[in-house]
């Protein structure tokens, strides 16, 4: 008897994940995102040089350029610049590979913080009735300021750097999470099992954590994935405009900003980081699409 009782929940949980993993978008987008993550982690072992290393004698070279340089011990070695160099003689290949680190760190950090903050504010808005109006009007106001513009304004408030950029990208995303969480909380509140939990005197924290929170997981995973893609894009835009992460840090946006001057003769400085960026955003968006279709079918029609 015991085995029969235990069996269904296990198999159901398994079947959800096997559906998710069979979805072509999840499979395709997820694999590319995973490969990028591995590349970012293994960046020092992929035949890269120090991405900040300047080589004045090898400035503005085309892909495949080979130069002789002295290594740390003073020996002459051959260095091949697979994707050419920028105007300071830095290796584009290494900078693009290391750029994946910054992009993914920004994307994941922004997604986690935005979801966490949005979850808390959204639960408060959905549960504390008198605060609901105030919070939501405030969120409406924030959402009325176009996302990129708000991020641009926010980076102007403090010294440029990774934390400032992350915060500037998080704030425009929070209202979207708040809205989502609040709508889930409001709909869950009316469910019979929540009403019965209230009737039997379940304390509010238990109610929120045991009944409301699990219902927000699926939509938040989906939303978090889209936020991650959007954050990577916004970070690249800020860096490209020269107002994001300081220019010496190898980010895809910075590499492109640096390549603007010599773009006519050396288009690769913009092309390769651009391809990396587009691929990352595409992969994560596809992952999000697939997760939404499989995990959260109620929201499947929302584009």
């Amino acid at each position: 008897m015991a085995t029969i009782d235990a069996a269904p929940p296990v198999s159901r949980r398994r079947s959800v994940w096997s559906t998710v993993l069979r979805n072509p978008s999840v499979l395709f987008g997820g694999s590319i995102a995973l490969i990028m993550l591995i590349i970012a982690i293994l960046a020092p072992f992929l035949g890269t040089r120090d991405p900040a290393e300047i080589n004045p004698s090898a400035r503005n070279q085309k892909p495949g350029y080979t130069a002789t340089v002295r290594d740390d011990e003073g020996k002459r070695i051959q260095v091949k610049y697979h994707l050419g160099t920028d105007s300071l003689g830095r290796d584009i290949y290494s900078r693009v590979i290391y750029g994946a680190r910054v992009s993914l760190i920004v994307g994941i950090t922004v997604a986690v913080i935005a979801v966490f903050v949005g979850l808390i504010i959204g639960m408060i808005a959905g549960y504390v009735r008198w605060l609901d109006g105030i919070i939501m009007r405030f969120m409406d106001g924030l959402m009325a300021i176009p996302e990129i513009l708000l991020a641009i304004a926010l980076v102007s408030l403090s010294r440029a750097g990774l934390p400032a950029v992350v915060i500037a990208i998080v704030i425009p995303q929070v209202p979207r999470v708040v809205r989502l969480v609040r709508s889930v909380v409001l709909s869950i509140r009316e469910e019979p099992y929540v009403e019965s939990a209230i009737t039997v005197g379940t304390p509010t924290p238990t109610l929120l954590f045991r009944h409301v929170l699990p219902n927000t997981t699926a939509p938040l995973i989906v939303q978090g994935t889209f936020i991650c893609a959007s954050a990577i894009l916004v970070e690249a835009i800020l860096s490209f405009l020269g107002i994001g992460i300081p220019p010496e840090v190898p980010t895809w946006g910075n590499i492109m900003a640096e390549g603007r001057t010599y773009f006519r003769i050396l288009p690769h400085n913009i092309l390769y980081p651009g391809i990396a960026l587009a691929l990352a955003v595409l992969a994560i968006n596809m992952l999000g699409d697939g997760l939404r279709d499989t995990l959260d079918p109620r929201f499947a029609k929302r584009f």
């Binding site: 990129i148 513009l149 641009i152 926010l154 102007s156 020269g242 492109m256």
Partner: protein, 313 residues
Amino acid sequence: MAGYILRRVLSTLPVLAIVAVLVFLMLRLTPSDPAAIIAGDYANPQQIELIRERLGLNEPILKQFIIWIGGVLQGDFGESFFYKKQVAELIGERLEPTLSLSLLTILLVVMIAVPLGVIAAHNHGTWIDRLVMGFSVLGFSIPVFVVGYILIYVFAVTLDWLPVQGYQRIRDGVGGWLLRLILPSMTLSVVFIAFIARMTRTSVLEVLNEDYIRTARAKGQTEMKVLVRHALANAAVPILTIIGLTVAILIGGVVVTESVYTLPGLGLLTVDAVLARDYPTIQAVILLFSFAYVLINLLVDVAYTFLDPRIRY
């Protein structure tokens, strides 16, 4: 209907007010002192204090807000720290390139995306549909500036058909003006064409299953008329909603596109203002763009009532 429109207009007022408060607070709570920025590196404390006094920075924050918002309502956004002239005047000079770029982009998007979406819906499930959808997924993953540089490389550098960068005022010749806006508006339109083609396809597909479409076909209406008169006309409301909502992305795209093509518009002004920590200009531009976004969506909502007589509030 007049009652609905009035209520809808009134409902935007609180949002606009909150945006104004947010923009004011955001830039007034900065760690850096605007007076010190204006005074420059060599000012002594007395000079800074004098500027603080003149800007009204020593007043209580609520009074500062009232003075500021009073000015804004009269079109006075204060003086730019960096350009040393009235922000309103500065914005006036920069309005033309931005408006030209935005309007041309919207025109291009509607002309290309809507037919594309209808064609995809009509050929649902065939390779044409998959081609349009494939383009659409690709379209909103390639960042605006990457699209911009690819187009510059192909059409301006390699083929040498169009100018690389720059802007010509419309009064100096419509030809030159249009020529310089072709690449920027193509660049900016890619992501929207992707969005709106997809949305048009979805809305038209939904409508194509309706009974009146079958009736229209049964009475021998040409397929073209069925698609345009019956399907598209009824799918117009969701398409218009998306156009309204994507104005936010359009504004972000304008900033990037103007930077790529060095168009001297509001987007470039925003970036320059941020680099110079020119807070009055940043405030004014953000306020202006946000108000434009809110008001465009208000117009879209009001347009529903004309487009779809079933909508009654």
